[in-house]
Amino acid sequence: MNRGLVIEFHLDPRTGVAPYLQLVQQVRQALLLGLLSEGDQLPTVKQVVTKIAINPNTVLKAYRDLEREGLVAPKPGVGTFVTKTLGQASLVEHEPLRRELAAWLGRARAAGLTEPGIEAMFQSTLRESGEEEK
């Protein structure tokens, strides 16, 4: 029944993460893991909603988000296709960013922040910068 489908979605209601974001994250993760690569077709909206009982607009919203990120593109009447491969290469590309973060974490600890404190600061700053972008 699942032949021809490249990936399958799931939803965890307990995470508190919006359902559309969970789908976005699962596609991104599949790209990072190499489960999806350029040219693959994502499940159609109908396939997703009949599989995991989810609002079709949620799936459309997730796919639009991925499209905005340049990861997928819709082919009208056919479906949504992966346009970019996110392999290990992308993590390597961002190594300088990772090193900056590690250095920042060192400074935060030196300033007396504990892990929960660091997490709280990171989460709230992430949210604020996300809201500013909108």
């Binding site: 209601p13 359902p19 909206v45 109908k46 909603v49 009949t50 009982a53 609002n55």
Partner: protein, 313 residues
């Protein structure tokens, strides 16, 4: 575009009891609407008013632009599934489909037969011998087989086990995708509503406490935790939905259309479940203690608290 459901100052009384009070709604078409609230809040009444089973005692309601139950054309456009998925126990599944075909001008026999086959049900079986999940699926098949533009479902999954519930919702969402059917469904299972709904209505003690698109609702509500203070000390423009205090700490749930300003508080988004519970509790405490409602709840939940109290007693 014509609204899926429009209500203006809609009210319903059964004798002296108010089942629905001053209900004003304007739901755009193409939505899957979740209707949530405690037992006796007025959910079934609203669905019966929308299907034309009941006529309001005050105010107006229209579904897809017309008065509910006004003529066969309107009846064909609206499907209604009453609580506990009623079927005729002594009639077979095939009989139910035949009944559907005779009674509904837009009946789609091919769809109904496909659905029954998909469910692996024997058409000759009597409906009384079906399990709860199968009965609900048969009732949904008949309701969807008439090809309505909107399906009104009163707690359709309440009595189903988790697997049957998922199966039911899968089929419901399939109808939404394939035919663009709009849906209004009541349920106590917020995790289900969170999956399938993109519009939410919270009803408590006969009044609408919250109504809107899920995305907008979750984006505009925040939980703020800070040192103890009065709601009045919060920045202007925040509508306080609920406030609780300890000796040192205050926790507010606020609604703000603009992004929350930065300040000496921790802020986070609420899950749909927490949000719904907050509105239910706020309405509840407003009803129980009308004297303190002005300070502990904001204008949305606090409005009309005296009448809420009347109903609660």
């Amino acid at each position: 575009m014509t609204a899926l459901l429009e209500a203006h100052a809609l009210g319903m009384r059964y004798g002296r009891r108010r089942a629905l009070t001053d209900c004003t709604l304007n739901i755009p078409p193409g939505h899957v609407v979740g209707l949530v609230g405690p037992n006796g809040a007025g959910k079934s009444t609203l669905l019966k008013l929308a299907s034309g089973f009941l006529s309001p005692t005050s105010g107006t309601i229209s579904v897809l632009g017309n008065t509910p139950g006004s003529g066969t054309g309107q009846l064909a456009r609206v499907g209604f599934l009453a609580q506990d998925a009623p079927v005729y126990p002594s009639l077979s599944i095939a009989d139910h489909l035949r009944l559907g075909a005779r009674l509904n001008p837009r009946w789609d026999q091919g769809f109904a037969e496909r659905r029954i086959a998909q469910l692996q049900l024997d058409p000759t079986q009597k409906a009384g011998k079906l399990s709860g999940g199968q009965r609900a699926q048969l009732a949904l098949t008949v309701a969807a087989g008439k090809r309505p533009e909107v399906l009104l479902l009163d707690e359709p999954v309440a009595s189903l086990d988790p697997l049957a519930r998922r199966g039911f919702l899968n089929h419901l969402m399939e109808s939404v995708v394939e035919d663009g059917t709009s849906v209004v469904l009541s349920s106590h299972l917020i995790s289900d509503l969170e999956r399938v709904c993109d519009y939410l209505i919270v009803l408590v003690s006969s009044r609408v406490r919250l109504a809107g698109e899920v995305d907008e609702i979750t984006a505009t509500h925040h939980r703020m935790v800070c040192t103890r203070r009065d709601p009045g000390a919060l920045p202007a423009g925040l509508e306080v939905v609920s406030a609780t205090h300890t000796d040192r700490q205050s926790t507010f749930v606020v609604r703000s259309d603009a992004p929350l300003p930065a300040g000496d508080w921790a802020a986070e988004r609420l899950s749909m479940e927490d949000l719904v519970l907050t509105y239910m509790e706020a309405a509840d405490s407003a009803a129980a203690e009308p004297a303190t409602s002005a300070t502990s709840t904001g204008s949305a939940a606090g409005a009309g608290s005296t009448e809420g109290a009347e109903v609660a007693r």
